[in-house]
Symmetry: C2
Subunit: 251 residues, 2 copies
DNA sequence: CGGTCACTTGACTTACCTCAATGTTTGTGG
DNA sequence: CCACAAACATTGAGGTAAGTCAAGTGACCG
């Protein structure tokens, strides 16, 4: 998506200095020397929309960062019930140092590019370049906070509030990437199918569909096509989400 | 509250070497030199059952580890709906380096002793003694896994499965502390009121009560008093919890 | 002995789920 | 370029798990 070309996306040779996630990813705190050593060991992998990156329980001998695209982490029960437990946007980290099998299914929901490291070298790097470990701790703490926010949503919010919250979360997250305006109306493209949303929210896809329709009828959101949403009044959406409406635009 | 007094527990002067959470807490990886420096800055605080340790949004200028007792992290919505987002047992860490207000209510559900550090010195220690940061990362990753397990529970499990899961989780966690036998029947004392359980599970307290009664009637658990539970067949409980029954006794 | 707290149980309501039909968009091959 | 299928989405009708409201029990404590 970044350089030249039609669909190709030849991301194989990005310099860390030009990387779009340079200042948010696990490498954010690295200095030039440290970057140079990352540059040597990193490699890129691409996945197509819908492709499963790893299956829960499978051996996973790499870790990495999402560079472009979106992926999900999902847990499945024996009888097939599924719950999404992570939504990975550009700069988010995949994999756990010190563990060698995946705990969740990791699925690319859009075309996806990851910047990867084999696990062993990465673990050594965590020791040798403390900035990586420090940044990873920071990111993990942020993810834990997000997970706890999500627990409130799953445990206590109504279907309508869940939908409103999801739209607000996605709007906020890609505002923080694109640094969009906060005044006036906000525009979002949902990167998820109704089914994926239902797995995120602990609902059925029918309930998701109904509640989106309801929010549309009530003028909270305006929909074009299936996935393109305009939010005329973001504060109003936040009220519907049941969140403390105070907070700044970014978390 | 801490020193002298009725129920005593005089924990004011524990040596790190004698500390019951020495090998599981944030200090687990520290060598003798590092411990010595912790010894200088640490201090103990005690709280009574029911006491709120910090309120969400309040300034929090310390971090610490639970030494004995149990605490909870809870989020509250404007209209009073509450969701527990963390259950803190001995060795668990409280507080977030690099943030100065609490994100959740922290409440002692039993009498509680914490080993504390003022935030500033602790943050400096994270830089100077890498073992602390490394261990904290490891613990945070574990907590994130636990949170994701919890998300599955909140989003997809039935009330009955939620109760069975909670009992299983508590049984496992204090088995891992006490290193109890795994053969035959397991005994647990629930450290939570029905209301606290309902906040954990995203249910009402009436539903919690009904489902506990149902599990009792079906012989999955045996109850003495209100909180003392015997589990005649742990595998059977795990089936009721909807978990893959395979796994070893500890996570 | 009265009051509070933690819990249980019952009767009724409702938000969300399930099952089913239908609509819309997109891509594919004749 | 159209026909057809496949994937995604919407909507309706009816069922059910869990919530709400309310009454009542038992233990503990001043």
């Amino acid at each position: 998506m970044s350089k030249t070309a039609a669909t190709p996306v030849k991301l194989t040779h990005i310099q860390c200095g030009d990387c779009p996630i340079r200042h948010r990813a696990v490498c954010a705190r690295c200095d030039d020397d440290e970057l140079a050593s990352l540059e040597e060991t990193k490699y890129y992998r691409s996945f197509e929309a819908g492709q499963t990156i790893v299956w829960s329980g499978d051996r996973m001998d790499f870790v990495g960062s999402v560079v472009t695209g979106i992926a999900t982490l999902t847990q499945t029960m024996e009888d097939g019930r599924r719950q999404m437990v992570g939504l990975l946007l550009p700069s988010d980290f995949v994999g756990r140092p010190g563990r060698d099998t995946a705990a969740y299914d990791v699925v690319a929901t859009t075309d996806l590019v990851m910047c990867c490291f084999r696990k062993k070298p990465f673990e050594e790097m965590m020791v040798s370049t403390p900035h990586v470990g420090q940044r990873l701790l920071e990111m993990t703490l942020d993810e834990l906070d997000a997970a706890r926010e999500w627990m409130l949503l799953l445990g206590r919010k109504t279907a309508r509030e869940k939908i409103a919250s999801l739209i607000a979360i996605i709007a906020r997250r890609d505002a923080s990437l694109k640094m969009a305006d906060s005044g006036g109306s906000v525009v979002v493209d949902l990167p998820l199918t109704r089914e994926a949303m239902s797995e995120y929210l602990g609902l059925t896809l029918e309930t998701v569909s109904r509640q989106i329709s309801a929010l549309r009828k009530d003028g909270i959101i305006v929909i074009e096509g299936k996935r393109h949403i305009t939010i005329p009044d973001f504060e109003r959406l936040l009220e519907e989400a049941g969140d403390d409406s105070d907070g700044g635009f970014l978390v």
